[in-house]
């Protein structure tokens, strides 16, 4: 059973085809990585999966359900969550408030305009526990915009996890994190519950090979090759693509 699947997915902008007939299958419980050189169309693909963009052709399936025409927030309520390459946080809220907000929305309590935010003890407790897991216990009540980058990065992932997703899309989780704090993020990612299917979009090969049990390579908008980490590592075509890119730099 595939947790997430695309069928002949295609996106055109005028003459450019950043997503060209992509058939991606992510198995349930997988640690799946999507790699590819710059400009391969990774960001477009993520935006198609999450509903930020509408495809020109093809379908997106979440489990057995066709979600192609659903808006981003509906996909979230069906169990899909994502993180962003560049932090997308609520700067004016505290980490506790941000996480509690996500939990409240998950439980469909977000329209309760007569209740006080934070009066639901279950939600506050769950948010506190989660914040601790992500190393945010000491900054629970600080404004998010005043936190150091590493903490913000942790919160970025915590917000996605707080929605209890079945499928989680991680867009370069360690991007911009200084070397010294990198392992914390990677530990967090490695410790994600096995019930969650993870699709990791990543540039850094060390992270990919340390984490993934399956890898898809995207080149020029097309799925170039797919396989186990071992196969990918030894695939001469993949090496050529990456070596070629390095030579360009």
């Amino acid at each position: 059973m595939n947790a997430l699947e695309t069928v002949n997915l295609e996106k055109r902008f005028g003459g450019i085809v950043p997503t060209n007939d992509v058939n991606l299958k992510v198995r349930e419980g997988a640690r799946h990585a999507l790699i590819g050189p710059n400009g391969a169309g990774k960001t477009t693909l993520i935006n198609l999966l999450t509903g930020v963009l509408k495809p020109s052709k093809g379908r997106v399936m979440l489990g057995a359900q066709d979600i192609t025409s659903l808006s981003p927030h509906k996909r979230v309520s069906l169990g899909m969550a994502r993180t962003f390459q560049i932090n997308q946080l609520f700067g004016d809220l505290t980490p506790l408030e941000s996480i509690a907000l996500v939990i409240g929305e998950r439980e469909k309590l977000g329209t309760r305009f007569w209740q006080a935010f934070g009066s639901n003890e279950k939600i506050v407790e769950e948010a506190t526990v989660l914040a601790k897991q992500f190393g945010l216990a000491d900054v629970l009540a600080e404004r998010t915009s005043s936190l150091p980058y590493g903490k913000q990065r942790q919160l970025e992932i915590a917000l996605a996890i707080a929605g209890k997703p079945r499928v989680l899309l991680l867009d370069e989780p360690a991007a911009g994190v200084p070397e010294t704090e990198r392992h914390e993020i990677l530990e967090t990612v490695a410790a994600l519950p096995k019930s969650v299917t993870v699709l990791l979009i990543e540039h850094d090969m060390d992270i990919v090979f340390g984490f993934a049990d399956r890898i898809s390579v995207l080149v020029d908008g097309k799925l170039f090759v797919e396989g186990e980490p071992k196969e990918i590592e030894n695939d001469p075509r993949v090496r050529a693509v990456y070596l070629g890119e390095r030579a360009d730099d």
Binding site: P72, F84, D92, L96, G110, Q115, A116, F117, T128, L159
Partner: protein, 328 residues
């Protein structure tokens, strides 16, 4: 865990300054009888600015045409009183519901575009409402205004018609009740989701918040609030005229809110008090001076305070002085 819950509770609790403010407002009923006409105006503008704060301060929607709902509420209240029933609270409810409905319908137009299109569409809606009120003179009195609105005693017991002090009490009570409700709303999960949308709409939708539905809801509530404010003015003034809907009113309310600062509900009250008191003193000298200084105030606020009100200028000066001190 306990501390976390306590921290959240502290945010929505009443600040001691709020108690002081409302005690002072209650005291003004007895202590400032000569100023009740002005205070009534301030309270009505406060409610109008509060309604804009719900939009701008909490949901981040800039409106240049908020007077559309204010004026609509005023006309509805007046026409309802003339044709059906002259009890004021009933009039407020009818005006609030009607303006809310107008807000609900027009929100579908407003929320489609970006910042700039929103500005234009809100402005356009107010202009269209103005034209409609102007053209339907058989109903609204057109440029001459609408007069002869009966104002019965409030709830049948408290007469306010041409009784300045009673009018003030009535308006103040309405402002208090609606502010308490607004406070409740902005500190609810719904209110937090609005702040999330304002802060980062992209993230908000990717944690499952249906942005547009929430914005439509708050736009409707804000329009209803504005309609109630308009109805209050209609009930306490002898004539409902086109100035209730004109651009000047939309600009003034935005200015008042900005002077007082957005996003803490009392900004509109502070701003309208400062604005109207200043207008009374400067505007009495010559109207041109008034326009010049109001423009000057806008430029200065835009340069230095952004949307956090006059107090933030002082705060920034103090913060800068402290920094200097710390250095030396």
């Amino acid at each position: 865990m306990k501390e976390a819950a306590a921290a959240l509770k502290r945010k929505r609790a009443w600040h001691w300054l709020e108690y002081v403010f409302w005690l002072a407002a209650a005291a003004s009923i007895f202590l400032l009888p000569s100023q009740h006409a002005l205070l009534t105006q301030i309270a009505i503008w406060s409610l109008f600015a509060l309604s804009l704060d719900l939009l701008l301060g909490y949901a981040g929607i800039v409106s240049l045409g908020h007077a559309a709902y204010f004026g609509f509420g005023a006309y509805v209240a007046a026409l309802f009183a003339i044709n059906f029933y002259g009890e004021p609270v009933t009039g407020l409810l009818v005006a609030g519901v009607a303006a809310g409905l107008l807000g609900l319908i027009t929100s579908l137009l407003v929320l489609r575009g970006t910042d700039l299109t929103r500005l234009m569409v809100t402005l356009g809606i107010a202009l269209v409402m103005y034209e409609i009120a102007n053209q339907m003179s058989w109903l609204t009195g057109g440029a001459d205004g609408l007069t002869g609105m009966p104002v019965n005693p409030v709830l049948g017991v408290f007469p306010i018609y041409f009784i300045t002090t009673n009018s003030y009490v009535y308006v103040l009570v309405v402002l208090f009740i609606l502010l308490v409700i607004a406070k409740r709303i902005v500190h609810s999960p719904f209110g937090y989701s609005l702040r999330a949308i304002k802060g980062n709409p992209l993230r908000a939708s990717s944690i499952g918040i249906p942005n547009n539905l929430r914005l439509i809801a708050v736009y409707t509530v804000a329009a209803a609030y504005a309609g109630v404010a308009g109805a209050l003015l209609a009930q306490t003034t002898p004539v409902v005229s086109l100035t209730y809907i004109d651009f000047q009113r939309s600009a003034d309310v935005l200015l008042m809110l900005i002077i007082g600062g957005t996003g803490y509900l009392y900004g509109g009250i502070v701003g309208s008090a400062l604005f109207l008191v200043a207008q009374k003193f400067i505007g009495n000298v010559t109207p041109q001076y008034w326009e010049f200084w109001i423009g000057f105030a806008l430029v200065v606020i835009a340069l230095f305070a952004r949307d956090r009100g006059v107090f933030s200028i002082f705060e920034r000066i103090i913060a800068a002085l402290r920094k200097e001190k710390a250095k030396s």
